[in-house]
């Protein structure tokens, strides 16, 4: 499997944010987008997730499920956590697992997701009562609860403490080791062996 982005052009209003960007992420690889604020890291990730239309170029998941569109094969972790404050952590997770997985919820996968991000003690607590870092972990647990090949992580480490960043790094490492693909934008290095970095927005910074 291979995420292939060719000559991508993205406009936001009249501004051209991404101009002729090409890169590829192979199976078992994590690509980290780096660049200054406003370089277009979030725009690239949201475009791959299908939330922003492309003005030119192509995005394809080669060797993926031909029946499904690319966004349906990807997990998108954005700046917001997509948690309902009145539902417990486990209910939130179950909802996303059922919704993203097409109805069937694997109880073992839910438990694995709770364990993976050290959420077991918080499982029965409404998400509204959690701290910012705990909410972020509850959001990230979605990655484990529903298996999808491509992870799109936009600043996944925001408000996580060092121990939680290590938990995330381990999960990303396992996903990549299992042949998964990761496209991330982060300022905190995840410390992965197979991590590749792509500098973007350099040209617009120089212009």
């Amino acid at each position: 499997m291979r995420l292939s982005v060719k000559h991508l052009v993205v406009d936001r209003g009249a501004r051209r944010i991404v101009d002729d960007l090409s890169f590829a992420v192979e199976a078992g690889e994590a690509l980290v987008l780096v660049g200054p604020n406003g370089a277009g890291k979030t725009t690239v990730i949201r475009t791959v997730a299908g939330l922003i239309g492309v003005a030119g170029g192509s995005i394809a998941l080669e060797g993926g499920d031909a029946e499904k569109e690319l966004p349906a094969q990807a997990h998108y972790i954005g700046h917001l956590n997509a948690l309902k404050p009145s539902l417990t952590v486990e209910e939130n997770l179950r909802f996303w697992a059922a919704y993203l997985g097409g109805g069937a919820v694997d109880g073992a996968a839910i438990d694995a997701a709770l364990v993976a991000f050290d959420l077991e003690p918080l499982a029965m607590i409404p998400a509204g009562y959690l701290s910012a870092g705990q909410k972020r972990r509850a959001c990230l647990a979605r990655l484990i609860a529903t298996p999808r090949p491509l992870w799109l992580l936009d600043e996944p480490t925001v408000s996580l403490d060092a121990a939680s960043v290590a938990l995330l790094a381990r999960q990303v490492g396992q996903h990549v080791a299992g042949g998964g693909l990761v496209l991330a934008a982060t300022h905190i290095p995840l410390g992965l062996a197979s991590e590749r970095r792509l500098e973007i927005g350099v040209r617009s910074a120089a212009a």
């Binding site: 349906a72 997990h75 009145s86 109805g103």
Partner: protein, 222 residues
């Protein structure tokens, strides 16, 4: 398709847990209708003549109050973007949200209407017709309102704009809803024709609403 039911169930569960929206709409409906006899005086003939119109207009306004919440919470916490990456087409996801709105707001308002009919001296024979027309007509309110809610999602002071956009679209429902009730209480128009057109408007909005709302959301989340 099970993702559709999952989303519907979650929206209904959130309505139960968070409450508020339904209670506000029902309370608003009660107050607007209760003010009519106070404003118009205790003329029972007049009240029973205008009762269908008052009940329908107040219902539209009460439903309007609850429309912005359909997408607002999901947009604020980022859920809407994750919903967009699901297998379920966004058109069906918005349909699930409209259906949840109808079940949690449209049906309670329709069931409250006969109680409020008492305040307006509505002819007792018109009660079954009143509830029937409202149950058939309120899906149009949810599904057309869905479009307005999606269009004004990120607009400042979206609530006022929403009223301007959506209320004109409710006019056909209002006309045929009232015509059906008047027919049952001895009015000039035929009941069956009005009732069928009312159903047709609801079916039409059932198709158009989710498609238009999904397009509006795609445009706004860019």
């Amino acid at each position: 398709m099970s993702a559709f039911w999952t989303l519907l169930k979650r929206d209904l569960l959130l309505q139960v847990r968070e409450g508020g929206a339904v209670g506000t709409a029902l309370g608003f409906y009660l107050i607007v209708v209760a003010m009519m006899p106070l404003g118009l005086g205790p003329d029972l003939n007049l009240l029973s003549r205008i009762a269908p119109g008052v009940l329908w207009i107040a219902l539209l306004l009460a439903a309007l109050l609850s429309l912005p919440r359909i997408f607002e919470a999901d947009d604020e916490d980022g859920s809407l973007e994750v919903i967009a990456t699901g297998d379920l087409p966004l058109e069906l996801a918005t349909a699930a949200k409209a259906l949840a709105h109808w079940i949690s707001t449209g049906i309670p308002l329709a069931l409250l209407a006969p109680v409020l009919g008492l305040l307006l001296n509505l002819d007792i024979e018109a009660y079954p017709v009143l509830v029937a027309t409202m149950l058939v007509g309120t899906p149009a309110i949810s599904f057309l309102g869905l479009v307005g809610a999606a269009l004004t999602l990120r607009a400042r002071r979206g609530g006022l704009l929403l009223a301007l956009l959506v209320l004109p679209l409710y006019i056909p429902t209002l006309i045929f809803g009232i015509a059906a009730i008047s027919a049952a209480t001895g009015g000039p128009s035929g009941f069956q024709a009005s009732f069928l057109i009312l159903g047709a408007i609801s079916l039409f909005s059932l198709v158009i609403g989710p498609v238009a709302a999904a397009a509006a959301i795609r445009f706004q989340t860019q």
